[in-house]
């Protein structure tokens, strides 16, 4: 049995009166892409900071690769073995991209491969740009490059795509895929549903300092009443016969007065059900105005589990 890359046991962190983390447990096996998903302020970043020794736990303990990051001596042995891209760090404004990468290569006793690294994270041609002149997304990509340059066993990514455009997200997702292929462990926090669903092998949903669910994205969706929703707007249509038994039908007030709207929640494979619905509309001689099918998403699972939407800007994040 292999040892976990990270083991967090009964972790609690208080800041004065505020309990940011209230008893979190998890283990991450090597090679896993592990996501902490939750709203801002749920305790994800604090948990991550406890894992890398930036924050001392109030109680409970963390083991990374069998060592204790809250012990300075053990942390010193861990530093070359992990990389971190954090929201709560920054770089000197007047330093240039190339200088930072070269200096960090020296910190890790590497031969700098600045051009190759810049190409990987889409900063090619920006080597002489000062950090202070980079856009938010470029800064994030530089931070990513500094976190993975030394090919760490574990990468900690804290809201890695916050403030990134679509291009930046693709770069990051590509790098996470690369880490997965090379068997590295990744622990990331995010409040972007799509990111968690797409990247993570395992997800912990964090709410108010506690983990309220932990599973693979697929099982989280299935467990939280996964399935599909089919919406039919057709004049003269009613669910009868076979399709009536396909799931739960709900009659909704028409949106624009153009006939009835029926909403079907089904656990069945939505493709054939959809075909049945279309045939029924046809057989009943109904006039179809709109037809919509949507599979349950992690967003639905999150809503079901936490009773709240992940963020006000969830739509913007998924764009």
């Amino acid at each position: 049995m292999t040892d976990p890359s990270i083991a967090v046991t009964r972790l609690v962190k208080r800041f004065g009166e505020v309990e940011a983390v209230r008893g979190i447990d998890f283990e991450i096996m090597p090679g896993t892409i592990f996501g902490l998903l939750g709203r801002n302020g749920a305790g994800k970043t604090t948990t991550l900071e406890c894992c890398i020794g930036l924050t001392k736990p109030s109680s409970g303990c963390v083991r990374m690769l069998g060592l204790d990051p809250s012990n300075p001596r053990e942390l010193a042995r861990l530093r070359p073995r992990f990389g971190a891209q954090l929201q709560t760090t920054s770089l000197p404004e007047k330093a240039r991209v190339g200088e930072m990468l070269e200096l960090y290569a020296r910190y890790y006793a590497l031969r700098p491969a600045t051009a190759a690294l810049c190409e990987r994270v889409g900063l090619l041609g920006k080597e002489r740009q000062p950090v202070g002149g980079l856009s938010g997304g470029e800064r994030q990509r530089l931070a990513l490059a500094l976190a993975i340059q030394h090919d760490p066993e574990i990468a900690f990514l804290d809201e890695p795509t916050a403030g990134m455009d679509a291009y930046g997200r693709r770069v990051l997702w590509g790098e996470v895929e690369h880490l997965r292929r090379t068997g590295k462990t990744v622990i990331l926090t995010t409040h972007y549903i799509e990111e968690a669903e797409r990247l993570c092998d395992e997800i912990c949903i964090v709410q108010q300092g506690r983990i309220i669910a932990r599973d693979t994205p697929a099982r989280l969706i299935a467990g939280a009443g996964g399935g599909s929703t089919i919406t039919v707007e057709a004049e003269g249509f009613a669910p009868r016969n076979g399709i009536a038994r396909a799931g739960r039908w709900r009659h909704e007030a028409p949106g624009n007065g153009e006939g009835a709207r029926w909403v079907l929640a089904t656990e069945l494979d939505p493709g054939p059900v959809l075909a049945e619905v279309v045939r029924a509309v046809d057989e009943q001689g109904a006039q179809l105005h709109a037809l919509d099918m949507r599979r349950a998403t992690l967003e639905d699972a999150f809503l079901n589990l936490t009773g709240e939407r992940i963020a006000e800007d969830a739509e913007a994040g998924a764009a």
Partner: protein, 242 residues
Amino acid sequence: MLLAQTKMNFVWYLFRDGEMMFWALAMPIFFLVLFSFAFGFGNTTQASAFLVPGLIGAQVLTLGFFGVGVMLAQFREQKVLRRIYLTPLPPWVFFAALVLYRLTLLAFQSSILALAGSVFFHVHFTGNVLDMIAMLAIGALTFVSLGTLVGAVTKTAESANNLASVLTVPLAFLSDAYIPLDRFPSTVSAPLHLLPSTQFIDALRGVTTGGEPLAHFSLWIVVLLCWALGGMLLSARIFRWV
């Protein structure tokens, strides 16, 4: 590694910062000229012989409290320290690189002041060069150590800046740097002689323009080194990287 980090400090915080360049290099000269005429009462050579070591001494105070103390507090506030803390760079290398950068800058500033003093005001540096350097180094060690303490006891860059100002400005005026202490009534000047800054600046003046050997100031040097050691031990205990 230490040299690479020190070099980056020069590049990032001096060469690419025009304002910093001006303050670091032009201000000491500006002070020298201004004070020589203001306090000289006609004999500017004599005034300069007093002021050049005093200004260098004041630069040492500034180096410790602002150059190291406030810089560290700023690095912490800007979250630069947190990022460094995650890398395998030993903390002492980061700290030593900052001190080395500041010391090199001090060497430049002192040389410029000394040169300006001797060229424009005919100041004679009668002391032994090694004595001068040793005294400067002891003072730098003391005030780097006390400056680090400023960075350690304050939470924000602003409070570090306030504390450094409160220490540096009065100390410079009360420590024989700009104004000779014998112009104060003896009841005021006697306790001022107990300040480490007074002892350092007087000793520096003694070995540079006063023609005295370093050994004259043995007791003060021991006292200064005690301050340095105390400051170091206390900073090491309470300094926070994150």
